[in-house]
């Protein structure tokens, strides 16, 4: 995988996620406001085509950048709190799951990217919720971006997963057109390299 291409695309996706995704917000009962996670589409795309180590490293890096580029969380008296880990570990676990599944799917199909994006967002959501719940036991007064209960939060993540999966279909098609630019090694090339 060409890391320069990855970094440029990751930058664009992070800018869109933090700046433009509000346009796609919808309000649902119980889970209230949700918006799709387009960074997950990039995670799925990279995990489908890159080598294992590159894919996992890409997931970790994307997650760290998400943790650091989203506005700070509110600590006691509203003070700024940054935490590296929830998105990073969430996307890392999701990426690992997709790596296990990629031999069983048709990688070049946009529907594959759509379905796997839903799986990715849900997996990352479960890990993030677990981290926030555990951190909630510290009693630091930090307001984590989650619902009042873990169950409601998982419902919300399921809704975001579904929405992200739908958005991943057109976005996945665009990414598939750029595949040659990424310089992914084919699996038989990797075997020869070994």
């Amino acid at each position: 995988m060409r890391w320069q291409v990855f970094l440029v695309v990751a930058f664009v996706f992070l800018v869109i996620d933090g700046g433009l995704m509000n346009v796609m917000q919808i309000e649902l009962p119980v889970v209230r406001v949700i918006a799709p996670n387009i960074v997950a589409v990039l995670v799925v795309f990279v995990c489908l085509f890159a080598s294992r180590l590159s894919a996992l490293a890409g997931c970790l890096l994307l997650g760290m950048l998400m943790d650091l580029s989203l506005p700070a969380m509110a600590g006691e008296a509203g003070r700024n709190v940054y935490i590296v880990g929830p998105h990073a570990l969430g996307l890392l676990f999701a990426g690992y799951l997709i790596l296990q599944m990629r031999t069983m799917v048709f990688r070049q199909r946009v529907i594959t990217i759509g379905v796997l994006t839903g799986v990715c967002v849900m997996t990352a959501g479960i890990v993030m919720t677990a981290i926030f719940v555990i951190r909630g036991w510290y009693g630091e007064g930090v307001v984590y971006p989650m619902q009042s209960s873990a169950f409601n939060e998982l419902l919300r993540q399921a809704a975001i997963a579904l929405y992200s999966g739908l958005l991943a279909v057109p976005l996945g098609w665009v990414l598939l057109q750029t595949t040659p630019a990424w310089g992914f090694q084919q699996s038989h090339q990797r075997r020869i390299a070994r």
């Binding site: 917000q25 918006a35 490293a57 008296a77």
Partner: protein
Amino acid sequence: MARTLTRPQKIFVVAVVMTFALAFMPAKWLWWLESVANVVTLPMTPLRQAGVAAGHWLRPAADPRLRPANTDRERLLAEQLDEVERLYHAAELRARELQEQIEQIQLMPLDDLRVPIRPVVASITGRNPRSPTAKVELNRGTRFGLHDGTIAAYGGVHLVGQVVDPGPVRSFLLPTTNINSGFIRARVMPRDQIEMPISAAPVIDLEPRGNGVFAADIEHTVAVSTGDLVRLDDRRWPATAQAMVVGFVHDVRPNDTNSLLKTLIVRPRYHANELATVTLKVEIVDSPNEGHRGDMP
């Protein structure tokens, strides 16, 4: 036979272990991450600002009183009417306070209600699209006179939140609906009785629920209906925020635990998360010791 790790694999394992450690570290040990975040967001900020502006153009925050066909002049008039109403109610609140403190009446002329402020328009340069009550990032800081507690408004009178921890050139806005904003004391103004004095309106304590709305208990006998305006009346907030619109009554529900009470669900008309810009009410002070600021809530 044990498999040896290559150098990139070793680096990756170390990075994962460090991320695990950081994810569960107490927040007070992670103070240094703010500087790292500043560096990471620096190249993104101008593009995100453009994205937020484009998003607002595509899907503007709606004012239910106005139709798309309304002219700019009509919109301006509506905003000015809101501001006059706010000043009127702020005057009432101050008059009531002065009645309780008669000895101060001569020292506090009503002109003081119009706290001299310098409006500063700030663009929103970052936000979490999946969390409506999370902080949003602004492109203004202490160089523009911002300080802890500076009020952020939209449409003149709608309270959006307050500035927290401002840096020199950027700051964060804590929305009123964030749990850490704490309880807000407010009054419910019936929508069909515009001339009703604010001091006669029932008092409620709004509790942010963390999902973009407030909840407040009120006696069952008090007449409240959906659409009623909720205005701030809380001395812990700065004078510039008094009588501003916190939101409107979205729902009235029976209280499950106490049949003598009912629960009001109050929603802000504008969420910080859906705006492209906010107006910051920076108070003009003559000297560091002379200001009109109240205590922070």
